[in-house]
Amino acid sequence: MKLMDRIGKEWIFFDGAMGTMIQKAGLQPGEFPETWNLSHPEALIQIHRAYLDAGCHIINANTFGANRLKFNNVEEIVSSGIQLARKAIAQSGRKDAYVALDIGPTGKLLEPMGDLGFEEAVSIFAQMVQAGKEAGADLVLIETMSDGYEAKAAVLAAKENCDLPVFVTMIFDENQRLLSGGSIESTVAMLEGLGVDALGINCGLGPVQMMPIVKKIVEISSLPVIVNPNAGLPRQEGTKTVYDLSPEEFSMAMKKIAGMKVQILGGCCGTTPEYMEKMIKEVQVVPCHENTFKTDSWVTSYSKAVKIGDVPVVIGERINPTGKKRFKTALMEQDFDYILSQALSQEEAGSHILDVNVGIPDIDEADMMPKTILKLQSVTALPLQIDTSNVKALEKALRIYNGKPMVNSVNGKLENMEQVFPLIKKYGAIVVGLCLDEEGIPSNSEQRVKIAEKIIAKAGEYGIHSKDIVIDGLAMTISSQKEGALVTLDTIDKVYHRLGCSTILGVSNISFGLPRRELINASFLTMALSRHLSCAIINPNNEPMMQAYYSFKALMTLDPNCEEYIEVFGNSKEEAVRMEPAIDLSYAVEKGLMEQAREDTRTLLKDKKPLEIIDTYLIPSLDKVGQGFEQGTLFLPQLLMSADAAKASFEILKDSMTKETIQIKGKIILATVKGDIHDIGKNIVKVMLENYGYEVIDLGKDVDPEVIVKTAIKEDVSLVGLSALMTTTVTNMEATIKALHQYKPDTKIVVGGAVLTQEYADKIHADHYAKDAMATVRYADSLFVK
C-alpha cells in the first residue's frame, strides 16, 4: 500500500535516533556517521532492523549529512545508505515499511546573511535527491532544519528531481521560533505553499516541551503533521550527553501528543528502538484522524506572517518607479540604499506588506526583481508583494523569495493564467486576480465578478485554492469614468459575498487628475473598507490614508479597545508642535539633526539654487565636523550623525537638480575584500565620500578581485578603496592590489580596516593607508581636487 494512502487512516511511525545508535556502536569523535555506510554496513543494517522490529514504518537512511560540502563521493554514500535500509527491510520481512532519503541542513547560512548562494544550496540538495531516487528511496525527509529558507532550497531540490513524497520537519525552540526567527505560521504557510506532503517538528526539544508547538501546527496546517522529539532535554554528564526521559515517560508524553490530532510519530536524539517500541504500544490505542482543511490564508516573510481576510491590511505602494523620477534614477544606477530606504519608511508608517515593482523600460527586470527582493529581505521582515507582468522576473523572484509572497498579478486572459498559475502552484503564493480579460475591463460589476469566477475556477484546475486568491476590483479614475468608484465598490462587495474571496484595490488610482487627491483617496478607502476590502494598496506615508485606515478599524471593532488607534495617535499632540522652521541648515548638519536638515533644505530651496545651498551650507559644515573629528574633539558617532543629516539634505537637493548640474569630483570604487563580510567600515567611508561629492561604485562585501579589476577597467576608475577587518583576509587584499596594479596600473589603491597599519599597507603595496573615513576623503581630495 502506498504510504500517502495510509496516513491519517492508521498511525505511521518514524524510527528513532540514528546518531545515538551509531555512537553506541563505536563512532569515533571527528568521524562522519555517513562514512559508516561504506565501512560498517552490517552495523547499520542492525540498527535499521532494530527499529523495524520495534514496529517503525519509516526508516531513515544514514544520509543526513551526505552532501558535497562534506563528501566528494555523495552518490556512493547516499546510494549505499539507501541500499542498507532496503536490505534491512528485506531481512525483516516487513511489507509495510519505507525508506526515507534523509536530508539534513548544510551547516552553512544562505545569502544574503551568510555566503551560501540559494541556487548553490538547491544544487547541493539536488545531488542527494538524484542519488537517493536512483537507489530506490520511497520518500524524502528533510529534517532538523532551523532555517525556513534552507528548507525551501531542499524542498525545491526534491520536487524538481523526483516524484517521491516530501516530508519536512523543523526545529522550533520553546519560544515557538526557528533559529532563523521563523514563526510557526510563516514556516507552515511557506512549506504548504511549496507543496510538501507532510510537515512537522523534530529535535531541539522533548515531547513535553513540544506540545504547545504541536498544538499550534495542527491549528494552522492542513497537512499530515509529524512529531519526532528528542528523548527529553539534554544534559552533560562528564563528556557524554544524556536525555532526561525514560522510554516509559517518553511514550506517555507521545500518547498525549497522539491525542492532539497529529498523524506521524517518531523520535530524534537520544531515542532508541526501546523508546519506539514502547511509544508504538501506547499510541496504537489512540484513534487516528486525518488533519482538517484550514481556511486561513497567509502571506509571509522569513519571520512574519500576515493573515489575509477579515481584518484589512495595508500594502505599501511606494517601491514603484511609476511617475517617480528619483526612483527611476535609483533603479538605473542600482542605488539600493535609496530603494531600501523607501521600504523602511513604509514599514515605519505601518505597512503590513510591501508591493515591489521595478519595471521601467531599459532595465532587465528579470535581473533586477530578484536582486531587489533579496536586498529588501535583508533589511525588512515585512512580507512582499511581487508586482510584475514579466513572467521570467516573476519566476526568479518567487524562487529566491524567503517565505510565501503575494503576487501582483494574474488576469482573466487565458494565456496569462496559463503562464502564471503553474508558478503559483510550484512556489506557493497568494495571487492577485485582476478583473479584466481578453475583452478588456468590464464597465459593470456583474461582468467583473464573472471574470473573478473564471480566475478562481482556472486556478482550481491547477490545484490552487481560492483562499490563495485575492480579487482586484480595479479602481478606475473617477475624473474620466464617472461611475468608476461605484462599480469598483460593487465588485468587491459581490466578490466577498458571492465568492467568499478576499479583495484588493490600488486605492490611489481613483483620484487621478484631481486636486487634493488625498481627500478623495481617504474617503474612498473608508468606503471600500466598509465593503469588505481585505488589502489596501496605498501610500502609508500619506497621513490621511493611515488615519482613515486606523479609524475604520477602531469603529468596526477590528481594533479591540482601540489599542492600536491610541498607540498611533495617542501622542500626536506633541508631534503637532512643529519644529521651528529653518534656523540654519549648517546648524542642523553640524548637530546631526536629520529631520531638521530636511526641513531647512526645503525652506532654503524656495529662494536659493541647490548648488548655492551646497556651497554655503553643506560643504562648510561638513568640513567643520570633519576637522573636529580629525582633531579628536568630535567622535565617530557625531561625524556620522552629521553625515546622515547632510545626506538627507543632498537627497532633497538631488530631486531638484538635473544630472548635468550635479557636480561630481570623481568616481571611486569601494569594496570589502574577498572572504570578508564585515562592511560597516566600508559603508562609513561611502557616505563620507558621497557627501564630499564623489560618485561611489559600491561593490559590496566579499568581493572577488576579478570583479574589482573588471569594474575599475570598465568604469575607468582611478581610485579604489579596499577594506578588510581580519588578518586572514588581508591576504585577499594583497591579491586584489596585485591584480589591480597589473591590469589597471594607473589606478591608485587606498586601504583601511581594523587590522591594517601603515606598515601592513606598505607591505601589501597599497598606494595609501587611511586610518579612518576622513583620512580617505582627504586622500581622495589630494588626487581629484587640483
Partner: protein, 212 residues
C-alpha cells in the same frame, strides 16, 4: 538580562575613556533597549586534554599553537564554548546602515560589548562549576588570538554542532555568522595559576586603538 558595560560601548565607539555628550549617550541607551530583543545562546562541552611538547590534543583535534600551549600549561581538561546574540543584531545593523550610519556604529559597539558581557557571564558559570569539582579555569582563548589559527573555527563548529545548537555558521573565510558570536577554549587545571594578565596585555598587536 545582560549587563552591558557603557564604558566598553564608548570605548568601541572610539571615545577612549571619555564620556560622550548627552545626545550620543541617549542613543546608546536606546540601542541597548533594542538589544534586549536578542536571544543569546551558548553551547559548552568539556573534553580530556593531552598536552605534548609542541601540540595539544583533545576530542579528535591536534592543535599546534605556541601561544595556546602557554595558555593551557598545566591543564588536564578543556572546555569548548561558543556564544552568540543570534541574528537580531545583524538585521538591526543592516537596517541602520540604510538610513542611519551613526546608529549602525552604535549598534555595532553595543553588540560587541554585549556579546563580551554574555560570554563573561557564561565563562563565570563554567568557572564556578569547575571550582566545585576542584578545577581552576585559565583565561579563555579564542582562535585568531596569537598563533592559534582561525582555521580551527571549523573544528569548533563541528565539535559543538554550532549550526544546530546555537545557529552559528562559518563563511568560506572562516568568519562566523551571525556576526556577534564568540568561540573560545578554557583550560581547566588542578592548580591555581599565577595572576592572569589582562587580555590586551597578552596580545601581540601593540598599536591597537581599542587597547585597554
Amino acid at each position: 538580562m545582560i549587563d552591558v558595560s557603557r564604558k566598553e560601548v564608548y570605548r568601541y565607539l572610539g571615545y577612549g575613556y571619555q564620556i560622550p555628550d548627552a545626545v550620543i549617550q541617549k542613543r546608546v541607551e536606546e540601542a541597548i533597549c533594542q538589544f534586549e530583543s536578542c536571544q543569546p545562546r551558548h553551547v559548552v562541552r568539556e573534553f580530556d586534554l593531552k598536552i605534548h611538547e609542541n601540540r595539544i590534543e583533545f576530542e579528535s583535534l591536534c592543535i599546534q599553537s605556541r601561544d595556546l600551549l602557554k595558555n593551557l600549561k598545566g591543564c588536564t581538561k578543556v572546555v569548548c564554548m561558543a556564544t552568540t546574540l543570534g541574528r537580531f543584531p545583524d538585521h538591526l545593523i543592516q537596517r541602520a546602515n540604510i538610513v542611519n550610519k551613526a546608529d549602525a556604529v552604535i549598534f555595532q559597539a553595543v553588540g560587541a560589548a554585549m556579546i563580551e558581557a554574555y560570554t563573561d557571564h557564561i565563562n563565570a558559570q563554567i568557572k564556578e562549576e569547575a571550582l566545585k569539582r576542584g578545577y581552576y579555569c585559565h583565561p579563555r582563548y579564542s582562535c585568531g588570538y596569537g598563533d592559534f589559527d582561525l582555521g580551527y573555527q571549523k573544528d569548533f563548529i563541528r565539535i559543538l554542532d554550532m549550526p544546530k545548537t546555537i545557529g552559528v555558521t562559518l563563511t568560506e573565510g572562516n568568519l562566523m555568522v551571525p556576526y556577534k558570536s564568540i568561540t573560545a577554549l578554557i583550560g581547566l587545571s588542578k592548580e591555581t595559576m599565577e595572576k592572569s594578565e589582562n587580555s590586551c596585555a597578552a596580545c601581540s598587536q601593540k598599536d591597537c586603538i581599542y587597547k585597554k
